[in-house]
């Protein structure tokens, strides 16, 4: 269905980022880049969103929150990981509390490389993820959807 690609609503989650990626991401919303011309709306609510944009590396503290945000999004959904940190852990990879890239925890559809990536690259990544939403719907119809296990509060998250 074409309308999915034309109206990807995004929710942004800052995992452990140094804010460099976040600032570049927010620059996409400004009049210079204006993502709304592609129908992209930055909603602050996972229940309204189609695409989850994650910046930064995942650490033991926020892995539960990240899974929770992902689980709250209605299918079909896609994930974009921003920056070197989102891909592999980047500059934070060797920290004692860091798990690594976003794909350690949730299935990532598009990695946007860079430290930080440029707004043009971020927009390109989001639009590619929007193109994948139809594929995700087919997966869902075929019963091949990814389901996460979320530990109850208080218990350590297994990864």
């Amino acid at each position: 269905m074409n309308c999915r690609e034309k109206s990807p609503w995004i929710v942004h989650f800052n995992c452990n980022s140094c804010n460099g990626c976040d600032i570049e991401f927010l620059a996409c919303l400004t009049p210079i880049y204006d993502v709304e011309r592609f129908g992209i709306v930055h909603v602050g609510n996972p229940k309204h969103a189609d695409i989850l944009v994650v910046s930064g590396a995942v650490n033991y503290r926020n892995v539960r929150v990240l899974k929770n945000v992902y689980a709250q999004m209605p299918s079909p959904k896609a994930v974009v990981a921003l920056g070197a940190c989102g891909a592999t852990g980047g500059i934070m990879a060797d920290c004692y509390n860091v798990l690594g890239g976003v794909n350690q925890v949730i299935p990532v559809d598009v990695f946007v490389p860079g430290c930080p990536p440029r707004p043009e690259a971020i927009m390109d990544g989001i639009l590619q993820a929007a193109g994948l939403l139809n594929v995700r719907q087919e997966d869902r119809n075929a019963g091949a959807e990814v389901r996460l296990t979320i530990q109850p509060a208080g218990e350590p998250e297994k990864v």
Partner: protein
């Protein structure tokens, strides 16, 4: 006036109105983008959004909330149909209030604090605009000796000339109903990350689409009432509605969001003051 079969009119109201509403929303987004020196989404963007939402996975927080969303839409459609058939305006306003109350109850029926805060703000909004709407109808009655919409459409004299002060008061009400700044507390088209996405927070997928479609009907309803202020000549009425539409968007873009106590004070002092003055003037 041309007499059309009431059933055809009703069907036309049910099926054609959402398209007009969607077009107006699209135009609104485009104009807003131009005012912020952006390019903006395509004109059909609201339609794309709603079709996408309708095809998403339905996640139900609780059943009651879904019933309220349906009632919100049903009452709003009923309002538009009644108005199109030229029925009692008083009835239209009461059913409109029912529709809003369904939305509020839907927001209240979930445990999310944001949704509840949104609902409470919506109650405050109702509190501030309902008296003005009632006074508007009192004014209409004093002029036409009838609450029927078809008598307003058939009367020889434009309503605006007898209700010059109620008209701006109604425009203030419209700003609230269209969720425009400075009155967009309960939910807003712009501040998605803030608490003001409130009342729609727990709706997702197809149920959010229902709220969006209801909003299309609502927009049509409001601009229909604006046009009725100059019902003797439809082009002039439409022109007034177009000017009002532009002014609402301009206002939305130049104003900051204010607090709800400010809204209540403003609406009850200025809005209600204007309406009461006009009614007294008509009465004497």
């Amino acid at each position: 006036m041309i007499m059309v079969d009431p059933i055809i009119t009703a069907l036309l109201a049910i099926f054609a109105v959402p398209f007009i509403g969607a077009f107006l929303v699209g135009l609104d987004r485009k104009l807003t983008a131009r005012m912020q020196s952006r390019i903006g989404p395509p004109l059909l963007q609201p339609v794309y959004d709603v079709i996408k939402l309708l095809h998403k996975e339905p996640i139900v927080v609780n059943r009651v909330q879904i019933i309220y969303a349906g009632l919100h839409l049903a009452f709003m459609v009923l309002c538009v149909v009644l108005l199109a058939l030229g029925q009692d305006m008083l009835m239209v306003l009461f059913i409109l209030a029912f529709s809003t109350i369904s939305l509020i109850l839907g927001g209240m029926s979930v445990r999310s604090p944001y949704s509840r805060i949104g609902s409470q703000r919506e109650i405050m909004q109702m509190l501030s605009y309902e008296p003005i709407l009632i006074l508007m109808l009192v004014g209409v009655y004093l002029v036409n000796d009838s609450f029927m919409a078809r008598d307003i459409l058939a009367s020889g004299k434009p309503l605006l000339l007898s209700l010059p002060l109620i008209f701006p008061a109604f425009l203030m009400v419209m700003t609230i109903k269209l969720q425009k700044s400075p009155f967009d507390f309960s939910t807003s088209h712009h501040g998605h990350q803030e608490i003001i996405k409130g009342i729609t927070l727990e709706y997702s997928g197809p149920f959010l689409a229902i709220l969006e479609i209801t909003h299309w009907y609502e927009i049509f309803l409001l601009f229909f009432i604006v046009t009725m202020f100059w019902a003797t000549s439809i082009p002039v009425g439409l022109l007034i509605a177009a000017v009002c539409f532009f002014c609402e968007i301009l206002l939305d873009n130049i104003m900051a969001r204010l607090t709800w106590p400010w809204m209540l004070r403003f609406m009850w002092m200025v809005g209600l003051g204007l309406a009461v003055t006009n009614v007294l003037w008509l009465y004497i």
